[in-house]
């Protein structure tokens, strides 16, 4: 009751819940396509966009979005050139993005503290503008997934077969890359650059432990993400902890618990 009496906590819960659903839903595809590290690379690249926004005086989310989208397309492009060494693309983009961010941060020394909130997330500092942007982007992503989930499933499971069933694989892949970029840019505001990948990877990882269908994988991942965000926010408010870190720690605890329980059940049966 007391938590929701603060407007900033209402915004935090709203932004957190939307981001949890998006990150988990996108995360299922990202994990199954073996692109878990991509989220991490993109999140690092986003920091350069945030820094650019602060330096040049525009809304940092847009900076993050532009940089992440650029980085995502760059990764796709480099992946095409180094098909066997796709990690090369990730390393280049991650270190390049961080380098750019560091240089821009050193140019504008004044915003160090604000930037810190993007590194580790600052859900309680979410502004009404942030909530509007997160909600709008959320609608775009959820609608896209609702319309494209069959195509994405087919491509994720078997890209060649998907192509031969008539799916425009290349176009869908590029669109998916842009959706990933959008999700990362949103999640950066909520849990921060360093924890984005965790929010996208841990809930699907939990779900993969015991889901009995693809549909169930989604539902469980979203449930885990929501549980982590809601309890994480609540606990961080009560004990005055960093919300981003608390959320991710709870998600990680759920994963560990599920693995232990699964192991125990297997050895018991």
């Amino acid at each position: 009751m007391s938590v929701f009496s603060f407007a900033f906590m209402q915004r935090a819960f709203l932004a957190g819940v939307i981001t949890a659903v998006l990150a988990a839903a996108m995360g299922v595809f990202i994990v199954l396509r073996r692109m878990s590290v991509v989220g991490d690379s993109l999140a690092h690249a986003s920091l350069a966009g945030v820094a650019a926004g602060m330096l040049l005086g525009f809304y940092p989310f847009y900076g993050a979005l532009i940089f992440v989208a650029g980085a995502a397309l760059l990764i796709e492009f480099i992946r095409g050139a180094f098909q066997r060494y796709a990690e090369v693309a990730l390393a280049v983009v991650m270190s390049g993005g961080m380098a750019l961010a560091v240089v821009m941060i050193s140019l504008g020394k004044a915003f160090n503290a604000d930037l810190f909130s993007y590194l580790f997330g600052s859900l309680v500092a979410v502004s009404p503008t942030d909530v509007r942007v997160i909600a709008t982007a959320g609608i775009v992503i959820i609608t896209s997934l609702a319309l494209l989930h069959r195509e994405l499933f087919a491509i994720t499971f078997d890209e060649e077969a998907a192509y031969l069933s008539g799916i425009p694989v290349r176009a869908v892949n590029i669109y998916f890359t842009l959706l990933t970029a959008l999700t990362v840019a949103l999640a950066v505001r909520v849990v921060g650059t360093l924890l984005v990948a965790a929010l996208m990877v841990i809930p699907p990882a939990v779900s993969l432990q015991f889901a009995r269908s693809f549909k169930a994988t989604f539902v469980i991942a979203i449930g885990v993400a929501l549980t982590s965000v809601i309890t994480g926010l609540y606990i961080s408010f009560i004990f005055d902890l960093a919300p981003g870190g608390t959320i991710v720690l709870i998600a990680a605890a759920i994963l560990v618990a599920v693995i232990l329980v699964k192991g125990a059940v297997h050895s018991w049966i």
């Binding site: 199954l32 195509e151 087919a154 078997d158 077969a161 192509y163 069933s165 008539g166 889901a211 269908s213």
Partner: protein, 266 residues
């Protein structure tokens, strides 16, 4: 002498009466990996209802040939037609089914049920989005066709190799295609499941009139059922229209070479 080696032979041209519906037509198709030509001036026509088995040594470009037929690879030269249409403008993907060589090597921890995997082969663009019931019926029909309706709710990762192969067959058949392309579909499957798989193909070919083009090393099982044998060798494909007319020494030579080759590989 090894049958699938030797100097380049003159291309074989096949004249097919215009009345029969063509499933595949290759005209003067050549293909090279880098500068090494693996197919040169291939001419081939497969008509509706045929059962064509493609055989050849390892590395004789059988898979390449099949991938060219379905448009996964673009030839360096020549023309490819699928179901009477130029492959470059071909859009009727629901009318062909394909099982790739790697189909058996799926990620076994992928969290998808048999029904979900089979449904992924049913794609009708934007219209398909509102066809949930038709899709469900098609999936059920395909599962019944291959004889695994009771596996619908199982995870694909938990199935045996033979069962999984039937799932891929069901996925390839879910849109009721006119032609089925199979690239060594029975690799890693035990002999009894293999025999059952070929019986199923034969039944689909005889009863449903499905055109089947299959790359295989299972000579006995496949050759007994195929109406045509295509030997891929010398950068070309040589079609034998009637198994009984095939020179028996030649066939024995191909089989002998094949068996020998696989021993060497193993």
């Amino acid at each position: 002498m090894a049958v699938c080696e030797g100097e380049l032979a003159a291309p074989v041209s096949i004249d097919i009466p215009a009345s029969s519906a063509e499933m595949v037509r290759l005209e003067g198709v050549s293909f090279a990996y880098n500068s090494c030509y693996v197919l040169e001036n291939v001419n081939l026509v497969v008509t509706a209802g045929e059962f064509l088995a493609l055989i050849g040594a390892n590395g004789s470009a059988k898979t390449t040939l099949m991938k060219i037929m379905v448009g996964l690879l673009k030839p360096r030269a020549g023309r490819v037609e699928l179901l009477g249409q130029d492959i470059r403008s071909f859009r009727a993907w629901h009318r062909i089914g394909y099982i790739s060589q790697n189909a058996g090597h799926i990620n076994t921890s992928f969290p998808a049920t048999v029904a979900e995997v089979v449904a992924s082969g049913y794609y009708h663009g934007w219209r398909g989005m509102f066809a949930a019931r038709a899709r469900q019926r098609a999936v059920q029909g395909a599962l019944e066709l291959v004889g695994i309706p009771d596996l619908a709710g199982r995870l694909v990762g938990e199935l045996s190799g033979g069962q999984r192969q039937k799932v891929f067959l069901a996925r390839a058949l879910v849109s009721r295609p006119s032609a089925l392309f199979l690239d060594e579909p029975t690799t890693g499957i035990d002999p009894s499941a293999r025999e059952e798989f070929y019986r199923l193909l034969e039944q689909l070919n005889r009863q449903e009139g499905l055109t089947i083009i299959i790359i295989t090393h299972d000579f006995q099982a496949a050759l007994a059922r195929a109406q045509k044998i295509g030997c891929v060798r010398d950068r070309n494909v040589y079609i034998h229209t009637n198994l009984s007319e095939v020179d028996q020494d030649h066939l024995a030579e191909v089989l002998g070479y094949q068996i020998g080759a696989s021993h060497v590989r193993l």
